[in-house]
């Protein structure tokens, strides 16, 4: 455990020499100031966490170090890497630095890799781009890099294509590309945000391991203080383009800047208080023995195509006014289950009943009547809306389910009512989706789900794409709406911190099956299944100090 100290101690001679020093960096674009006198230090073998909400300037700081600022950006101050003043470099000069002296890893492991190139070639390309290495030498370096990121266990790894790898493996490839030339400094921008909790924990440990083994410096950028706290030595909190506080990561609980404290609170949302003696109600949604199979590709004419069971005899119940969490990693079948529950896909076996009526077997008018009672909010706040439709038209889309839609005036009244219920203004109805931030868009998605006065709303990773502060606000809104409108939620997420904050009861799903269920606090404090315990231990928490 590191000794807790309040703020950054002054550098002393015993400390390793400074690797990266940013001195009163300012960036402005088109007269708008985006970064204001940012000063940071990273030493050899040190991990600096850079935390802040979206728009706080943390990614921009990382891009400034890499010389990847958008054209037209005006830079003041200096960035120094060892003896080189990076801010004085020309673009060709920077190209020699990137990859060789400074490695970088970004959030999206799929887009960072060329889908048409074997991963071994992609890694060795980085070597050859910086010249001076023979093909044989490049191959040796590539093998070493793939081994040091733990891909040596994957059979034939260098010959695989990105699509043949999992998200975590892809991020390891991106890491291998970043470290193959042994850069002195590594910059990782939200490297684990797109990954599952267990994979996230592995990648974080790998990062820490690489830093220690190669004596690199690492700048780890994230919106989630809990993630940063896992491996960072020091944490710099950024708000509105400025560093507001720097602390040793052992002393995060002693952060005192109000914004830093808000980030701290949002990183670990409070568990939902136990409902005071919820009266046993009739079940609203009953899923019984649900099976959803996907046919694989037929391998031979003689044998039937192999089937993959995405959902394997799942039984679950949601009562009126209750929030049920469904937790599991990607590929566990939770989204497939949700689609079947929403009546979007027909199950091969089992039933979905709503208020005792068969939902999965309903057709025509009966189906539309039941659909009205179940609405949904999806993960991607950018993909959830037709970019050409106004908010008014988008929110009103579920009116399609009504046999007798209200007249124009009644409709308008209702739309104003729901948009205000989710904390937006009536004037927002005339706007287009691109005019809103991610959090506001999820509010619009909630308004769309509310418009037909449903009994149940299903959420598919609905807060996963939001940064922690916005996530906290949306969770608060949902809890409030559930109380006021007596709504039931089926809340799907891979994030246990989120599930704990919102769910009364929780189901844990692994490989298509429910492996554990129970009241949330019980499952979290006394997990019975090994998988649940694994998920819990991988979930980042800020250590108590």
């Amino acid at each position: 455990m590191r000794p807790p100290t309040d703020s950054m101690p002054p550098p002393t001679d015993s400390m390793p020499p400074s690797l990266l020093s940013i001195d009163s960096l300012g960036v402005s674009l088109g007269g708008v100031s985006l970064l204001r006198s940012v000063s940071l230090e990273v030493r050899r073998g040190e991990i600096l966490g850079l935390v802040g909400a979206s728009g706080s300037g943390k990614s921009l700081t990382a891009l400034a170090v890499l010389g990847l600022l958008p054209p037209g950006a005006a830079v003041t101050g200096t960035i120094r890497l060892r003896d080189t003043v990076l801010t004085a470099l020309s673009e060709p000069g920077y190209r020699g630095v990137r990859g060789r002296d400074v490695g970088m890893v970004f959030q999206e492991p799929m887009t960072a890799l060329n889908p048409l190139m074997r991963i071994g070639d992609q890694v060795s390309e980085t070597v050859r781009l910086h010249g001076r290495a023979s093909r044989a030498r490049a191959n040796t370096l590539t093998r070493e890099a793939l081994t040091s990121v733990g891909l040596d266990g994957v059979a034939g790894a260098p010959d695989r294509y990105p699509h043949e790898l999992s998200g975590g493996q892809r991020q390891r490839v991106a890491l291998a590309m970043a470290i193959v030339l042994r850069p002195a400094l590594l910059i990782a921008d939200e490297p684990t945000t797109a990954l599952d909790v267990r994979t996230q924990a592995q990648v974080l440990m790998l990062l820490r391991d690489l830093v220690q083994r190669h004596g690199m410096g690492l700048v780890l950028v994230s919106h989630d203080l809990a993630v940063i706290a896992q491996i960072a030595d020091r944490v710099a909190v950024m708000q509105a383009g400025a560093v507001v506080e720097v602390a040793r990561s052992g002393a995060l609980r002693a952060l005192h800047h109000p914004y830093a404290r808000a980030l701290l609170a949002a990183a670990e949302p409070a568990p939902k208080p136990l409902a005071a003696g919820l009266p046993p109600e009739d079940p609203l949604l009953e899923v019984q023995g649900l099976v959803r199979e996907y046919r694989g590709r037929r391998r031979s004419l003689a044998r039937a195509a192999p089937a993959f069971r995405a959902v394997d005899e799942v039984t679950l119940t949601v009562h009126a006014g209750e929030t049920v969490g469904l937790v599991g990693e990607s590929g566990s079948g939770k989204s497939t289950l949700l689609r079947a529950v929403l009546g979007l896909d027909a199950p091969q076996a089992g039933t979905v009943r709503l208020n005792g009526e068969g939902f999965s077997t309903a057709r025509g008018a009966g189906l539309r009547r039941l659909r009205r009672r179940v609405q949904a909010v999806f993960q991607d706040p950018y993909g959830s809306f037709d970019p050409l439709w106004t908010v008014e038209r988008l929110i009103a889309e579920p009116y399609h389910l009504l046999d007798t839609p209200p007249d124009a005036a009644g409709r308008r009244r209702r739309l104003v009512q729901v948009i205000e219920q989710v904390g937006l203004a009536a004037s927002d109805l005339r706007k287009l989706p691109h005019e809103f931030s991610g959090g506001e868009r999820q509010r619009i998605a909630i308004a769309r789900a509310l418009v037909t006065e449903p009994a149940l709303i299903a959420f598919d990773e609905a807060v996963s794409a939001l940064d922690v502060l916005v996530r906290g606000q949306i969770l608060e809104l949902l809890a409030d709406l559930s109380r006021r409108l007596r709504l039931s939620y089926l809340f799907v997420s891979h994030d246990l911190n989120v599930i704990r904050a919102i769910a009364d009861r929780v189901y844990v799903m692994q490989q298509g099956r429910i492996v554990e269920q129970g009241p949330t606090e019980q499952v979290f404090t006394d997990p019975q299944h090994a998988y649940t315990r694994e998920l819990l231990s991988a979930t980042p928490r800020i250590g108590n100090t």
Binding site: L342, L344, L367, R368, R371, V374, Q375, A376, F378, Q379, D380, G383, S384, F385, D386, P387, L388, E397, P398, Y399, H400, L401, A445, R448
Partner: protein, 268 residues
């Protein structure tokens, strides 16, 4: 090309296209002379005050013929793009919305149509139904169908992966409703680009068919036929081939620059 170069190309393409379309529209109402009027006395005149582009071997005014040819080209290309889009777009939308066996059926049918080279297909149609402008339109339009179907299916599959189509399904809408309300409007830019490209191919195809005698029949005027007729006079009056040749070249060039410009605007 640099962004600036692309912007200039787009402007040049748009102006060339607009100029030829204006010429075609004007020819609908007025040409300096009747492009079909034969005045053998005035044959093979050099360009001058009365005949800006001169006259051909039958004494027809070349400028009037170029204008009438533009009208013919634009008409044929427009009609064939319309046929391709009206049949191909619904096919592509249906294939993407239904997937599975329907998709296979439509797209394999497309492949069969695609397998015939455009000119062979056109010759087939015109030999079966006889040469003429209308049959040329049908032949070129037939060739456009799989192009539009394929492009629309690809674009539509991309739109279908986005969550708003799921939201529309939760709102009780069926695949056809979603295709019309959400998918098609999001493909307009794509269709505009493809339409421009097919339009320019239509100009070339029409000229080609008329050149070999399968397109517009006398006395109607076509750039392809003008080229054909000028061919026999290359020694006597070489400039006669230049007017229709440059008309085809400039119009197609303009359309392609316009298409490229539209595409890069869409990607931005």
């Amino acid at each position: 090309m640099t962004a600036r170069g692309r912007g200039a190309g787009f402007l040049l393409g748009a102006s060339l296209t607009a100029a030829f379309i204006a010429l075609a529209v004007l020819a609908q109402f007025w040409t300096p002379y009747d492009p079909t009027a034969i005045e053998v006395i005035d044959k093979l005149q050099a360009p001058g005050w009365h005949h800006w582009f001169g006259t051909d071997q039958l004494g027809r005014d070349v400028l009037s013929m170029i204008m009438a040819g533009a009208r013919n080209s634009v008409g044929v290309a427009l009609a064939s793009v319309a046929i391709g889009a009206l049949v191909g777009v619904p096919l592509g939308l249906t294939a993407a919305a239904r997937r599975g066996a329907v998709d296979e059926f439509i797209m394999r049918g497309n492949d069969v149509l695609f397998a015939f080279p455009a000119l062979i297909l056109a010759i087939l149609v015109t030999t079966v139904f006889g040469p003429g402008a209308v049959n040329a339109v049908i032949a070129i339009g037939l060739f456009n169908i799989p192009v539009f179907a394929r492009v629309v299916r690809g674009g539509a599959l991309g739109v279908w992966t986005r969550d708003f189509t799921l939201a529309a399904r939760v709102a009780g809408k069926g695949p056809m409703g979603i295709s019309l309300e959400h998918v098609l409007p999001n493909l307009t830019a794509l269709l505009l680009v493809q339409g421009t490209i097919q339009f320019s191919l239509g100009i070339i195809a029409e000229a080609g068919l008329s050149y070999v005698g399968l397109g517009a029949q006398p006395p109607s005027v076509s750039w392809g036929r003008m080229l054909n007729e000028a061919q026999t006079l290359t020694v006597l009056a070489p400039s006669l081939a230049l007017y229709p040749g440059f008309a085809i070249l400039l119009f197609v060039l303009g359309l392609n620059l316009l298409g490229d410009g539209l595409r890069s605007r869409r990607e931005r």
